[in-house]
Symmetry: C2
Subunit: 395 residues, 2 copies
């Protein structure tokens, strides 16, 4: 348990060590104290709402997630595996081309052409596979995200199903939809080692995937994958390939490293391999967003967000005593659908003291958010409600 605490403090204090407590579990730290400048490429983000991990990784402050249900692009996290392409590719978004392969009549299509093939709007959680890595005990490499590598967006685009139908249908024997990103690849490296190329099961893709040109009512910003992003509702962020330049229906999963050995769930110290589960379907999860700091005694409104992952959310409960007792929280705003998150609130009457506040979501299949997330080598998706708790001091 000491190492959980160490990690918390390392994250919260920008790398400096701090004394560990002996509490039976480790509530999450409050707002990060650093005040690091935004990288130039993302200078338009709301600086007060972002934690800067690196030039390519920005996290949303835990209490910057509001109650609207939809996450503004100004506070949405950034996690790019490669530097993004130049702004020129979003200057004329309708001209962007995507190659459609593994259909009976393969061809390239512009975004302008896609816009005449069909359209759907879906709200879905975008969550980095490593969200919550900072809560694991073991020393998983990568950005030490806490809760803020996640957001909920509205996406509009053409269903992959409609594109396949327009091109004569999917060719025989295809089991996966494989999307390739349009990033420039560094020279002198085997492209397979660096290309962003992800495969997902064709059944889910044909039912739910879209090629999206719009996010939250605007053309998808370059920073978030415009002019065309693959959106796989219910799947971790990595599968939502940015600047999509190729969509192929394939017999096998891609042999790119990012598919073959990366984003594979395995025990600590085990190498990644294709026979391990890939980071596809998201888990049921929730967390408290506010309050994080001291509050006045009396009626306290406790806020958070909850989602079912691959399934719809059924309900969310809140505990103010570290999981001994639970009360059902009230969902806020419109239900944005199966793959969206839902803000929630619970009004609690709290006397002065310290409270360990956490939340626990249940999906429509009866799956309950886990209490503890077992370690996995890369520290993917810490979802355990015990460690996602926050300590609130009521004065």
């Amino acid at each position: 348990m000491l190492s959980i605490q160490r990690r918390h403090f390392l994250v919260a204090m920008g790398g400096a060590g701090a004394a560990a407590s002996l509490r039976p579990f480790a509530p999450a730290p409050a707002r990060a104290q650093e005040d690091q400048a935004l990288p130039e490429d993302f200078a338009w983000k709301d600086a007060d709402s972002m934690i800067v991990h690196t030039e390519l990784t920005l996290e949303t402050e835990r209490d910057a997630i509001g109650t609207s249900g939809v996450t503004s692009k100004d506070v949405l996290y950034i996690r790019n595996n490669l530097p993004k392409p130049g702004e020129d590719i979003v200057a004329a978004p309708d001209a962007w081309e995507v190659s459609i392969e593994g259909v009976n009549e393969p061809r390239s299509l512009t975004v302008g052409e896609l816009k005449q093939m069909g359209v759907e709007t879906v709200s879905s959680v975008l969550q980095c596979s490593g969200n919550g890595r900072g809560f694991f005990e073991h020393d998983a490499s990568g950005s030490q995200w806490r809760t803020g590598a996640a957001g909920n967006l509205l996406w509009s685009g053409v269903p992959v199903r409609a594109v396949a139908e327009a091109l004569g249908g999917v060719a025989e024997g295809r089991n996966f939809m494989t999307s390739t990103g349009g990033e420039d690849l560094p020279e002198g490296v085997d492209p397979k080692e660096v290309v962003i190329e992800r495969s997902v099961p064709i059944g889910h893709a044909m039912e739910h995937a879209i090629l999206a040109w719009e996010m939250n009512g605007e053309p998808v910003p370059l920073a978030h994958g415009g002019p065309l992003r693959t959106v796989i509702p219910g799947y971790y962020g990595i599968n939502n390939v940015k600047y999509t330049k190729r969509v192929a229906f394939t017999e096998e999963e891609s042999d790119a490293s990012i598919m073959r050995t990366s984003y594979r769930v395995r025990p600590v110290s085990v190498s990644g391999a294709p026979d391990q589960p890939s980071m596809w379907e998201m888990k049921v999860k929730s967390w408290i967003t506010r309050p994080l700091a001291d509050v006045q005694s009396g009626r306290v409104l406790i806020y958070g967000v909850a989602f079912g992952g691959i399934n719809a959310l059924d309900r969310v409960e809140v505990s103010t005593d570290g999981g001994e007792n639970w009360q059902e929280a009230r969902p806020l705003g419109p239900d944005l659908g199966r793959f969206a998150w839902r803000p929630f609130v619970l009004a609690a009457d709290l006397e002065p003291g310290t409270y360990t506040v956490t939340s626990r979501a249940t999906d429509t299949e009866g799956r309950v958010q886990e209490e503890v997330t077992e370690p996995n080598h890369r520290g993917y998706d810490y979802s355990g409600w015990r460690v996602l708790a926050v300590d609130v001091t009521v004065v």
Copy 2:
């Protein structure tokens, strides 16, 4: 009819006259041709998506409204009756104070205090009373808005009902909720002549009104009324008072000019008076957003937005022959609730030619969007589907 055309062209061509056609009705012009710079206060808006009327009035381009349902602040219209207060009032939004009057225990509350009193999230259309003024035949003074003085937002805030309850309940005999804006008033003028102060019936306010601190997942921007905006779902924009500094439950409507004589619906050339209907409840309305320019023959996706105004939307139909024949359109994305708009789409197979494309919404009370909007002195809310049509050339 000539004067309708004249107005269209005046708007489209930035004031220059143009030859009028003799078409039986006047489809709306395509994208505005001007390329006027954004005012400094709103330089953060998306310039390509905005039509600049004045320093205080910006309209959203008709085809800049997407299919996400929620309107990004970057493209949301601006219509301020007075210059907005300084940015300092949103620097510490929780410290903003609002005086609550006409309750049994009147007092001032900070936004921070309001946040502990209750919360609801509602999606509602924000539409300027004068939206569509540019489509009227008569010479109504004011911004010549076409379709773009409207957007749909997600708002979070405390229900007015909860605030009243917390302060001992509404005092006896109160019939209206009156909100006052926090703008600095110009000197040397009777404050009653310029203050932004609007009254709405108390029944609707107690059921639906909120005092909102969040818009689309972020603190309400100053430009849109932050740190605290009165939101009256289903009511025209003017009732959604910005920078709210006072909320009073009153026996009578405010005697400020903006309530007493402005925003009153009356015949052309008649002066405003308190016995005329106030611009409160919105009408059922829809319009086509795309395509506005030439398109290729074959399958054409026709997009638009529709809302029920004070009631929920039931359905929307599209005609490609100027209203002779109608087909039911498909709603897009999640249903955001009674007061929200809903994007829609219709796939039409169109041969080369010119098509007059329009849409017609019906609310859940069976009220059908009007064909023609009768003139009213100030040119409020042109909603008639015949004139809101667009001409589309299929090549």
